[in-house]
Symmetry: D3
Subunit: 322 residues, 6 copies
């Protein structure tokens, strides 16, 4: 079980980072390619009486359509501008069915559940494709276009997430100064990166057992998927090791998170084989804003689950205000 650093070493693990010289310029260019079409909101009947749900299509990277659900507390439950939560998804999942991911709406937030392009054929379903092709890649999303930061898959994903954030902030019923980004695993990595790419738009971050952190260590330590995609890719393309890590440094949440400023509540699980705890601490320790972290000593990648939700329900109002 001792597959990673012991907790006391992990707590202070803050590895040197390979920060690309043009990191900020690259992302400025990237965000400039977000589409400008206005989002559409179509009311749907989810079967729930406590939540009011809209099917959202918004313009992501290169204007590609990105699908989301907007869940609002039922009208009788709300008063005044709502705080908001943008929820990013774990690897292979999607926004799901209309009644599926409504947690933050139940707690009184405007809750935007955003698809991850191309994904959504796994534990929950999605409705958003990725029109961009890629070079030779491993099955999975982690190596698509990885031969160059310009073509890398997560470039588009992060830009989509920033676009979604601004869509929620721009909604009539939402207080744009009180919007959080949230997610677990891949959703945690995206949340942290969004907080770095749009620091003035993010009021809080909820980042659980994040993926996409400290890739070089992750591929050495994690025996599980999806980091295994990278291992297999590099096992095949033995001549592309440095080039691949160079691309990855543009999307590494440990690299990007330094630029974030919003207060953040993280969680990490010490038996997490999918997102090894040291890689989570690597990103946490480099994170630029005020921060707290919950440590779940006996959990694998499921992390804190309902216990962490309880913690978040209590913490979020303390940073977003009433």
């Amino acid at each position: 079980m001792d597959f990673d650093l012991p907790l006391d070493e992990a707590r202070v693990y803050r590895p040197p980072l390979a920060v690309p010289d043009d990191l900020e310029e690259f992302w400025a260019r990237t965000l400039a390619r977000i589409g400008t079409a206005a989002p559409t909101f179509t009311r749907v009947d989810s079967g729930l009486v406590a939540v009011e749900t809209y099917d959202v299509t918004l313009a992501g990277f290169d204007g590609d359509p990105v699908r989301a659900w907007l869940h609002l507390p039922a009208s009788s439950l709300r008063a005044g501008p709502l705080p908001g939560v943008v929820q990013l998804q774990g690897y292979n999942g999607g926004r799901g069915l209309p009644h599926e991911h409504v947690f933050w709406a139940l707690a009184g937030y405007a809750h935007l559940v955003v698809d991850t392009r191309g994904q959504g054929s796994g534990w929950t379903t999605g409705a958003t494709g990725d029109p961009a092709g890629s070079g030779s890649s491993q099955p999975g999303f982690l190596t698509r276009g990885v031969e160059d930061p310009e073509t890398y898959y997560y470039r588009r994903v992060y830009a989509d997430a920033v676009a979604a954030l601004e869509v929620l902030r721009g909604h009539d019923l939402v207080d744009p100064s009180r919007v959080a980004v949230a997610g677990g695993s891949q959703g945690g990595g995206i949340s942290t990166s969004v907080a770095a790419l749009a620091p003035s738009s993010v009021a809080a971050v909820l980042c659980d057992v994040p993926f996409l952190c400290d890739f070089r260590r992750a591929v050495a330590v994690s025996p599980a998927e999806p980091y295994g995609e990278l291992v297999r890719y590099l096992a095949a393309h033995r001549d592309r090791v440095e080039q691949t890590f160079a691309t990855l440094s543009y999307v590494d949440a440990a690299v990007l998170g330094r630029l974030a400023t919003a207060p953040a509540l993280w969680s990490v699980a010490l038996m997490d084989l999918t997102c090894p705890p040291s890689t989570v601490f690597a990103a946490y320790n480099w994170y630029g804003g005020p921060k707290e972290i919950e440590v779940y000593e006996f959990n694998d990648h499921e992390g804190g689950e309902a216990f962490q939700q309880q913690r978040q329900l209590a913490w979020l109002p303390t940073v977003l205000g009433a």
Copy 2:
């Protein structure tokens, strides 16, 4: 993957049942031992604004305390007597944290989430112990007291569930004629059995991928837990095979379900290694009330998940009425 009957054979699989002569007398005696103490309801703050939650303690078999959550739609969302849903848990789970299992409350129902005694240290937590001990048993709950129907663990569990049903039906805000029992896996087996033991109290059944059905076939076909507990028990106690199946026939949802009369919506998954489809069809085909079944061809024990919930959201009002 072809570990069980093909679908067309499974659809008509209705095995001969070993119905104990004293089955109904046994259960009449059992239900007579349900405690008579009044339930207690204590308001708790779950952190959600859409749901009103109470911590419930009710008297189960032999009066043993059983814990539950009562979730009501927030007061602004309700009008008139509420229809109700009693939710029984899957193996190893519990009622969870106060904000965790609120689905039916969001849909407008009084939702009672009931612990399974002794369980609740797995995928969700519980707060209800089982004061009864047992003879020599395998790790797990399936062989506790299995040497005799009088001492068998599930005797107590089924009685607890009937007690919980009556508690919800007796609540001031609930319409006692419009209460359903619901559950997946172990919760499905309990639900069906409760519908058989208290037919006049159950208005509908939602039974997903049920456990506790057609034990003799289940232990031969399922390569997975928890039926494996029985396999290992019988592998050790080579001299107790017939005695063990005799006890199990008292709690077999295929045996009991014949006595149910409420309309029921079932689901089955054809790649379900935990609760093999033939065993589900065995119980479904013997079920005594009006019934429909959704077949999920490519799913393992997770079954229909959100897709089945969507189906249930539409179906339940058609049998409970407005």
Copy 3:
């Protein structure tokens, strides 16, 4: 081990096929989209003295560039027009390094080793991307664009293979009437389909343990990858089962192979968990041309390997002529 039909049943297994009404029209439209740019041939030094190797770029579906190696026997070893072999790759592989797949050149054939677009990051490497994106898909290639035959990944792959076939037939040193298509696993499925789509161009087929055959049975029987991609996709998208199989019927080598006319040598392995023997026999029994099959009773997906190569070395001249 008895996971599939016994040999005597498999030998006569010829399932009813769901042949799309517009199958031939669809493929005519598809092949019409093959690019018209002339192929390029660049001599490379593979380090081998026995083989003369060229790096080939040819125009595939929609004119997308497809990479290949052309291996010729060293000039001192050849005389007169050469018979040819187009080799298609197994799933996840690519054309490899210049010295890697030279088998048929050693035997005196012009040997064209063709990439599979997007693949080539696995057991051998490739250099060909897939510029087309896709909708929500499972990690892997099998569900990319599967929501519609028009967008399905294998539409493009088959068209690329037909294009490659014509490139080899058009080479100055090659006798266009004596060109075979060959491959194992995915390469077997593609070879058979190419023989169906371009029957007048294919003089022989070498088809080993083919993939992409009799999908409906394959996903029910195979416990392995890559058919598992389809299982997981359908487990998520529970509402897309029929639509998905409708798409797959356009590329099913059992459906297409009926249209082939070239003599073929197949092989099948009875313990093949990846491409179950019954699915191979389904395609073999429907295959339209003269045919023979080698049965390897104790092999998994590796099949006959060098033993089958030996068989092929002897058989191919008997159909291609001297």
Copy 4:
């Protein structure tokens, strides 16, 4: 394979212990609850001519009946008061059938093979139930009642073992000053703890690859059952970590063994995934009496087996005397 400390570090591993303030008072109270009913001995025919066997029922914790076999060397093989061995069982086992565990009787000892309450449905069978219930627990025995030392399962088990020891010492044919306790795995942990709880009654200890040692490290290091029960329990009850280890400290053989005084022969296996070697050394290094340990470098939890028995056959007479 290097999942634990290297041997040289393990040999000196003597971790700080969390000794409860009221440890000795707790156990004094516990042993005071051992039943006072006289044991019963019923002669049975085991089918063996070399051993004389009695079915024993003795009063354990709270007077609960505990079953055992007493095996004596056949009468023609014995002369004078016999030295004795009380054998405690490995996890999930029981006293077995009458002819099953007779080793020490063959060597000339009065051999008492004692059930572990509730267990005995695994590799050997038992006949002793546990009348005490428990709170919410994981499948298995390790978390039953673990919420409080008063209710913890192993409190009762250890008291039963002390009771059994005194029963053997009180038998007419036995020399009460020459009785050893023995066991492997769980039986090793119990043996060591009994030697601590009844130091004046134990003349020697045979402790092989013991379980129930140094829990905090064990759950971090062991990837196997049954320590996994604790991992899963704590993964669910994320809020009970400290409370759980506080309970465990009352039964930790490393904590208790400090109080033992009898000479002891231990064994440890360096590839033991079930009872990791460092946890064995933790208890060994804290053990209070004279001691020796055999190290099996290449064994998993089976340890030294017949080789260690041979060692024990030679060693035991040297400490018990002729």
Copy 5:
């Protein structure tokens, strides 16, 4: 779990056998090569007082030395000529240490525990090598010399076992008319074969979950070792399938057992992946003598263990007489 025939089909499964024309001649020639040197018996101290043990070296096939232990009940426990049991070992085991396998001596029999040449580096140790080399073979013993019955490994093993049988029958303290052969797994297959090769010397057979039966079905059905050795061998030597099964037919316990005449008690386990139940029934149903079989419905290859021993303790005297 349903990996083999259901019980009712297995009970009557009596496959056609490929009996070699020269089977009896082959074995006559083979037994004629048993060495004629007198066995040696050296008293050893096993540490047990109930058993008197001798280290035996006897002359096996080609006179090669074969090691065994002879265990006698202690002298005070015996009177008159002793009945005997020759115990053959399971695959990979050996005679063990002197105190290890003494069961039948405890029950009053002269017990000869015989090594299997070359084996004995597994679950128990042996001291007997195999001086004969072999051709290309898989790791393991099952394919050594399998290219020809003359050189096949089990030819030597069976001859050794016959030699050992005659050694025990020739011992002064043994009644040669009351000697049984016994064994589980490989030991069961050898026992049955010995009963066929020396029918007038064998008074009873104890055959548990036998290996070496109905090879053609076994390799198709068993997913486990050691039959897997044959699968891998034939997967490599794709051209030696018929030749290999021709050799195996000389040692198949289903083929040989037809020639046996002694009363036999068998056992079979329905979940036995190592020696699938149908292959056991194949041999049982062809067995030539009077016979009974115990069926263990829920056991894997461990079979009936102590329960079967209890059955054997009762049965053996009924056929050997007092």
Copy 6:
């Protein structure tokens, strides 16, 4: 994944070696037993036009016949004396079919592909038996005769390889001063050892991911086969640990390689569970000649494959000369 030393520690890992006092004398005696019969060369038709192949039988240890293929570039491809490569096989493989292992012939070398006695029933087939028997051993080749260096299996294997080397050097078409030894895994270990045993005959070494290095560490670190054979052997023969390692020190490529003088190109894979990287570096760091090593960071035991071949194609001429 971090199952072995990190790269920077592995690079300098040069463990103390247990060099037997009589190492060189032992091997001198051993090589003196190589047979003196002249090799035979029989032309075979492999079906390839680029290679000229001969079936070779040569005299190995004690004159035992050893089979090999001699592959020459087709006559039109060669001029003058050829440089040569002797290729030794990986564990369980053999020389294969005549067309199977021709790589170095394609590159212009006389290529001798040598069987490993007794092996050749695995991934490729062999035709060479081992006439020598052995004592009690584990399934596999690693423990055959390991009780004494005189009888140990690899003694014979290394001698065979030296014999093969001299056969190739003695061939009319070969330049004896320009012959390399090559192999991966077991073939790497043998190659290095041959370079040590016949330093004046070896002009270069190609050693990939070698097996048979630094046994003491290998058995502690590798969780895989075939080192597992040793683990299981020592787990059984708990009393033979030192004796076994004493034997192994005679064939350890780390011990022997010190005596080599030829330039060598090695490769190592950092995720190699079969031949852990530290054990490869142990041998590499002790290797006596000029040396280079390629490190494959993300590969398991497949190592560099075609990439390493490419490297070797370039490197070998630099040391053998034109």
